[in-house]
């Protein structure tokens, strides 16, 4: 028995050494404690509270246990499912387009012989514009009544959609806004592209590789970690997409923050309603914080799934690289 126990526990350790290990563990815990405290206060506690409130009728002032009522409501809350579909649309369409566009712009800038600095600045500046201001500007530019884009298209006899007033175009309007402010990705891609050793291209050119082959066989493999980073952060940011959709819908609908002026979230026809926006409306406008907690848990679960898939991909890539 003793041998078995020893075998299970490993070789006997002198008591002084065990004490040293304990001290080392305590010291490690001490160093970790700021992070552990932050993790407990800002993640574990809110998560537990969210789970608790999801079983309550909670208007932020009074509590009433309601069992699974909030979860049952989710099953036939059409707006929540529409919001989820819209958010996933943005993840599937806007994120790849932003990555591709950012990469394309960065690639072009690396090829420019003169004025690259000016171009880099011009493309980067929009990402510094505050989200609300940028969105207001875009809604103004694309306004079918007074916008200059409409005026130009009218002048040349081309039809122009009501970008933020037609449900078929509104998400594309937001996507164009996202592409306009692609400077944050462009800068990262530019740094990665400039980091690719020139000799590889020279060697490939001598071997007869054309530009496409050089890009797919040399550039892409080398900058793949950066592409993965841009995709992961892009997906996480888009799952939290809120400000641009809210501002665009509010301005395009013409609703003001005044008595009798009803703002319909997701205008037009809930086509710009995102999941975080619906969550906000339920919790802070409709006093249904218990139900908002259910939506928060769903968003948390979806984010976890996306993150796990992407991390798995990333790990696979890292092992391959190793």
């Amino acid at each position: 028995m003793a041998a078995t126990a020893l075998g299970r526990r490993g070789p006997a350790v002198p008591s002084s050494s065990r004490g040293g290990r304990r001290r080392a563990n305590l010291r490690a815990l001490l160093y970790l404690s700021p992070w552990l405290a932050g993790f407990a206060i800002f993640f574990v506690y809110p998560l537990l509270s969210t789970v608790y409130f999801s079983f309550q009728r909670y208007d932020m002032f009074t509590l009433e246990p309601v069992g699974l009522l909030n979860y049952r409501y989710l099953l036939h809350d059409d707006a929540a499912w529409t919001a989820l579909r819209n958010t996933l649309w943005l993840v599937v369409v806007m994120v790849p387009l932003r990555v591709l566009f950012g990469l394309g712009v960065a690639q072009l800038i690396t090829k420019v012989k003169a004025g690259a600095g000016v171009l880099r600045t011009i493309f980067y500046l929009p990402s510094l514009v505050p989200l609300v201001a940028g969105t207001l500007g875009f809604v103004y530019l694309l306004n079918p009544g007074t916008g200059p884009v409409q005026a130009v298209l009218d002048a040349v006899g081309l039809p122009s959609p009501d970008w933020f007033g037609d449900p078929a175009w509104s998400k594309w309007g937001l996507t164009i806004l996202g592409l306009w402010s692609v400077g944050d990705l462009m800068v990262i891609f530019l740094a990665a592209l400039l980091d690719v050793p020139r000799q590889l291209y020279e060697a490939a050119a001598i071997d007869g590789a054309n530009a496409w082959h050089q890009f797919t066989r040399i550039t892409l493999p080398i900058i793949r970690p950066v592409l993965m980073f841009a995709t992961v952060t892009g997906v996480i940011q888009t799952l939290q997409y809120f400000t641009q959709a809210m501002v665009a819908a509010r301005v395009a609908s013409g609703a003001t923050d005044s008595a009798g002026s009803v703002f319909v979230p997701g205008y037009p026809d809930q086509s710009t309603l995102t999941f975080p926006e619906w969550l906000f409306h339920q919790g802070f406008r409709d006093y249904a914080m218990g139900y908002a907690c259910v939506l928060a848990l769903v968003l948390f679960a979806i984010s976890m799934v996306f993150t796990l898939i992407l991390l798995r991909q990333f790990r696979g890539f890292a092992e391959e690289e190793a």
Binding site: Y45, Y52, R57, G145, T146, P268, D269, Q270
Partner: protein, 441 residues
């Protein structure tokens, strides 16, 4: 190791307890009297922001200071309901708060965000039934709790530009309104609208369903709180009428025209600019026209009514500004003095009404000889006094219900929904489901 789960459970419980500590309801302690005249400063949050309104309101507060010299009011302007809510939740509310919308009154009362004022009214020997018009009770109390008081009221009617009307009289029925709207509309050679007789869509500034529903006497809820929208034929009548007129303009043309407008509250309002001949608006537009567009020759009239309801002509939608004492207010006695002054003092109400052209909210102020009554403002006083005028009774889902209805209206007007019965049945379902979620109805 066995201690760990127990410890975790204890910590979890403690955290949850801490989290829910702010949910207790505390009954307000009614001040014994106003014998205490120690100097006190109270915080007052309100939503006024326009220059003329701020000046008038400052004058009113100066009148309060004369009457209650020991109370200093520290006023904060342009405050929205969200900020009040967060302040109450954070345990640092103002002593008095004013809200421009009555949409949240039910939740304010139900959750105890504002204190029940019935004990204060009783202590001050004020009888709301004899002081206020009956309609006000519907939007200042919920399930017997009067947690806010009315401070001026709003009535909605029709504004018309006399020059653009070319001698036509204001319409009294929806048929007349549609006919006149078509007659007065001017389009360019591409069919784009240059001047609209009347913009019928629900997204036009004050065309929200709470305002237009009164034109057909449409009901929002049944006595049990469930939705009456799908079963009340008046909504269908109104929306069919709106759709026919919108189609005459062309919805896309109408939207393009609407999106060329300036801000509703600025001098760029299309009525000021002569771009619309008739518009639904509140009585406050009189003061705004006087300051922003004094050259516009306009008239006011009650809202047109359904052709088969001409006996209801003269009615309109009524709502108002409300004021109360948030839970946790530190100086309740002085706070009540201010609320009482702003909501019951005839001189104060009349002066404020004359300055910002809102309807006085007490019967003595309405009857006051000092109240300025030019013909355009008188229209709204008459609408306010009309027994067929109505308001949106306090409802815990007031905002959600209006959003849901307006969303359906937009889908219908745009032609993106084609089955009106199914659309309104869906509105019913959404409103009733939401009622179960938030109120257990």
């Amino acid at each position: 190791m066995k201690r760990l789960p127990a410890l975790s459970a204890a910590v979890g419980l403690a955290l949850l307890t801490a989290c829910t500590a702010g949910t207790e309801n505390s009954a307000p302690s009614v001040p014994a009297g106003s014998a205490n005249h120690d100097p006190v400063t109270i915080e007052f949050w309100h939503g006024f922001s326009a220059d003329n309104e701020l000046k008038a309101f400052d004058d009113t507060l100066a009148g309060f200071k004369q009457k209650y010299p020991w109370i200093t009011v520290k006023a904060t302007k342009a405050v929205q309901d969200d900020q009040i809510l967060q302040a109450v939740r954070g345990g640092n509310p103002p002593d008095v708060a004013l809200s421009f919308t009555t949409d949240s009154v039910a939740e304010f009362c139900k959750a105890g965000i504002f204190q029940d004022l019935n004990p204060y009214l009783a202590a001050s020997k004020i009888d709301p039934a004899t002081l206020f018009p009956p309609v006000i009770a519907e939007y200042t109390q919920y399930q017997g709790k009067r947690c806010v008081m009315p401070m001026l009221a709003d009535a909605y009617g029709l504004y018309y530009n006399k020059k653009l009307m070319k001698g036509s009289q204001p319409p009294k029925t929806l048929s007349e309104l549609a006919g006149l709207a078509k007659k007065l509309t001017v389009k360019d050679d591409k069919g784009d609208i240059e001047v609209a007789g009347f913009v019928p869509t629900s997204q036009m500034y004050e065309n929200a369903p709470i305002h237009t529903g009164v034109m057909v006497g449409a009901k929002w809820t049944n006595p049990d709180g469930t939705s009456a929208i799908g079963s009340d034929p008046q909504w269908k009548k109104l929306m069919t009428w709106q759709k026919e007129l919108a189609d005459w303009y062309g919805y896309d043309k109408l939207e393009k025209f609407r999106k060329s407008f300036g801000d509703e509250w600025s001098a760029d309002n299309p009525f000021n600019k002569g771009k619309v001949a008739m518009a639904i608006d509140g009585e406050w537009r009189n003061a705004m026209l006087a300051s922003d567009a004094p050259g516009v020759d306009y008239g006011t009239a009650p809202l047109p009514v359904a052709d088969d309801q001409q006996d209801r002509y003269g009615a309109g939608f009524i709502t108002g500004t409300v004021i109360g004492i948030p839970r946790g207010a530190r100086h309740q006695e002085a706070a009540w003095d201010l609320v009482e002054y702003l909501t019951t003092d005839t001189d104060a109400l009349v002066k404020l009404s004359n300055a910002i052209r809102n309807v006085p909210s007490t019967l003595p102020a309405l009857r006051s000889p000092d109240l300025d009554k030019d013909p355009n403002f008188q229209t709204f006083l008459d609408i306010f006094a009309n027994p067929n005028s109505s308001t949106l009774p306090a409802n815990v889902n007031s905002v959600f219900n209006q959003q849901t209805m307006q969303e359906a209206q937009i889908q219908w007007e745009s032609g993106r929904a084609t089955d009106l019965d199914a659309l309104l049945a869906d509105v019913d379902k959404k409103i009733n489901d939401k009622l179960k979620l938030t109120a257990g109805g």
